[in-house]
Symmetry: C2
Subunit: 430 residues, 2 copies
């Protein structure tokens, strides 16, 4: 291998990613593999310079692979290893490297054993998946029938994987990452820490941490806005992993002192992960009553493994009758204030709290659009209530954007209110 972690001359190794499949360039599938591979390579200090997607076309695959191999040390290729006629990645890679495809018997045995286990007949097509470029190193696939392979093209190391995400993920983690770590003999690692903020806008956060954001500073500090999260990204180049970690820890401490509880999580955490963790840690029970978010808050929370220790129940009370029947919201209250009102959000949360005996309950009602808005109650108006045994807080929000954006923003705001409540719930000695 081209000395991963550094280049031939001791400089930093550069990687790029090529994904292959007509469905990608036709836009029928969004390429999530490239982003995933980039994050994994970054975690071992290997930066990625380019992502390229190309269809199942001989000339274009050859062009993309030759270009990548000419300018990068490590080329990660995903896709086109299936058993059908339009899967031509194996053939193209062999041709580019000037090699023949030869049968790799252990891979054929593995494929045959998988079909035996599934109780299905192996087709002739599947056998083609066991033919690999002569002299290449096999990358085992324990989750599917297509083995990957690793070979040299010019001075670049080229690693080839199937495009099925869970197969690819396991193979990169089992083959690529340990291989890079093992070859990393030279000092020089890049580490990154992401501090995830929710609430204030980008410019407010920018003003508070701008003094850390000089481009030539090490660690480098930058801002990134995506969906509901503003990320403060701290990237340190150190001569060793402990050194880089220490540099990041110092900046993280400074940023936390400035931004406080605006920071809800780190790295790949979601708001739901953090809210669930804070509840579980304090043995607090939660119940959710949703109208406009329609089950999304419950869905986000229950996507967290182990949340059954904290999550009791949810009610999606879309109709007025269900608000009365499941939550005990009085019909008169709805008639007087309307289903989208502070009073009804409050009654939903308090009704759910009483009904379930939870420590905290949430009630959300609003107008997600695109229709249903009025001058007085426009699309985007959402009331979010959070109730505990002592008190109820209700927030009136005015969100903009599509139905989906309004729903997601509402759900995350509710979870952030729960997260903040859970932090103080301890402080009160609960």
């Amino acid at each position: 291998m081209t000395s991963p972690g550094k280049g031939n001359s001791g400089r930093e190794l550069r990687a790029e990613i090529v994904t292959i499949g007509t469905e990608l360039v036709q836009g029928l599938i969004v390429d999530t593999n490239s982003a995933w591979i980039s994050r994994r390579l970054a975690s071992v200090g290997v930066p990625v310079d380019f992502h390229t997607s190309v269809g199942d076309d001989e000339a274009r695959i050859e062009f993309a692979v030759r270009l990548a191999a000419s300018r990068s040390d490590l080329v990660m290729i995903a896709g086109g290893l299936g058993p059908t006629a339009d899967d031509i990645t194996r053939d193209m890679l062999a041709r580019i490297a000037g090699k023949k495809l030869v049968l790799h018997q252990p891979s054929l045995d593995l494929i045959a054993s998988m079909f035996a286990r599934w109780g299905r007949q192996m087709t002739e097509n599947n056998k083609t998946q066991a033919f690999l470029p002569e002299g290449s190193e096999v990358i085992e696939n324990h989750n599917g029938t297509a083995p990957g392979f690793c070979m040299k093209i010019g001075r670049a190391e080229v690693q080839v994987f199937p495009g099925v995400p869970h197969e690819l993920y396991a193979m990169v983690d089992e083959f690529t990452i340990p291989r890079i770590r093992a070859a990393q003999v030279v000092p020089g690692v890049i580490k990154m820490r992401r501090l995830l903020c929710f609430g204030p806008g980008e410019s407010a956060i920018d003003q508070k941490v701008r003094h850390l954001m000089a481009l030539d500073r090490n660690p480098n500090v930058g801002l990134l806005v995506h969906d509901y999260v503003i990320t403060v990204k701290i990237t340190a180049h150190g001569s060793s992993e402990p050194e880089a970690d220490a540099m990041i820890a110092k900046d993280e401490k400074d940023v936390r002192a400035i931004l406080g509880d605006i920071i809800f999580g780190v790295d790949d955490e979601r708001m739901s992960d953090v809210a669930a963790r804070e509840l579980i840690r304090r043995r607090l029970k939660i119940a959710i009553a949703e109208s406009c978010t329609g089950g999304m808050i419950a869905g986000m929370l229950t996507d967290v493994s182990g949340v059954s220790a904290a999550f009791l129940a949810g009610v999606v009370s879309y109709s007025n009758e269900s608000k009365q029947d499941f939550l005990g919201v009085p019909a008169e209250l709805i008639a007087k204030h309307g289903a989208v009102s502070e009073a009804v959000a409050r009654a939903m949360a308090e009704g759910m709290l009483k009904r379930t005996g939870a420590d905290v309950a949430v009630g959300v009602t609003g107008i997600a659009g695109p229709t249903g808005g009025t001058a007085e109650k426009p699309v985007g108006l959402v009331y979010i209530a959070r109730a505990d045994a002592k008190s109820t807080e209700v927030r009136e929000c005015r969100f903009s954007g599509s139905r989906d954006r309004i729903r997601v923003r509402s759900a995350v705001t509710a979870l952030d209110m729960v997260r903040r409540w859970a932090l103080t719930a301890t402080a009160r000695g609960k």
Copy 2:
């Protein structure tokens, strides 16, 4: 413009997409813009050959843009038009084209009016967004402060957009698509129809439609597997739009005769869109009781605008107490069969039906993992019940994969059972 819809010599126009942003190649943001642009270009018969993502780096942006302009007729560029120092797309495009950046006063006025409307101070940085390469055509942005622009580099037309999806989408639909249509003087359009299947595996569908799948056939018929959907993709090249439409209609009729109600929808439809539509069309009311899917089914259904005509209520009964209290599932039943059992799924659906007076109710209970499985009841075991006034059907499913995969697969299977039921509900003259 390079005669969009055809190339200089009357051949088909070829496009490619370059997205710019360090967060893309670092994998912190998944590039969904390229797939979206590809689908929009395909809708007016322009195929896309490459997607390239590159960081905010002068040399790499220049390399990627020059390469794209040298091999494609239309280059769509997105990203790097923000107001901060690392947004260098404007500068780089001007340099590559050998032009100066000059102030575009109408754009500056528009930016100033946006800040006035928001009641915020315009910064010096934002003024840089109104500087465009000399001689370029402005692409107006009504949703943000960064105008786009359109210019020639060599023989290619290059269109440059901000990376914020909803800004980009509106600009492509208002500028690019009408421009391509207006210039399409030469016959030759590509149309595509996607028939979405759920249930049987790829090979079963492959065998049934294989006779249509010869690579050189027009229309071309292909299969695509993604998440829970197997797509039969029909692509027709015709001399006119009506001709291409007629070719597709004939193949679609044949495929529908073969596959029947395995086909649940077309093109961009989701299972939830179709299930909601069939319910609304027949004025059927639905209620959902969920355990392992945790609100996901309700969340999917309520993501469909207008579903309040059909959706009454949902209950997420995670704890055993909530199954008893909200749904009337007897404690003895849970004690005898376990919470994950055919009997409990049935009781959840029937309890929800009774409680809400809906026409149809769903009950789902299972083990989504990663923990909680036993030898007898492994992770992935899910019971899905669908009840109406006359009868209840319960399906025992054994799904594999991650927690998220098991939950999604469970939710979509439940919605498919609802969809199929709704179709027969009419046939029975309900």
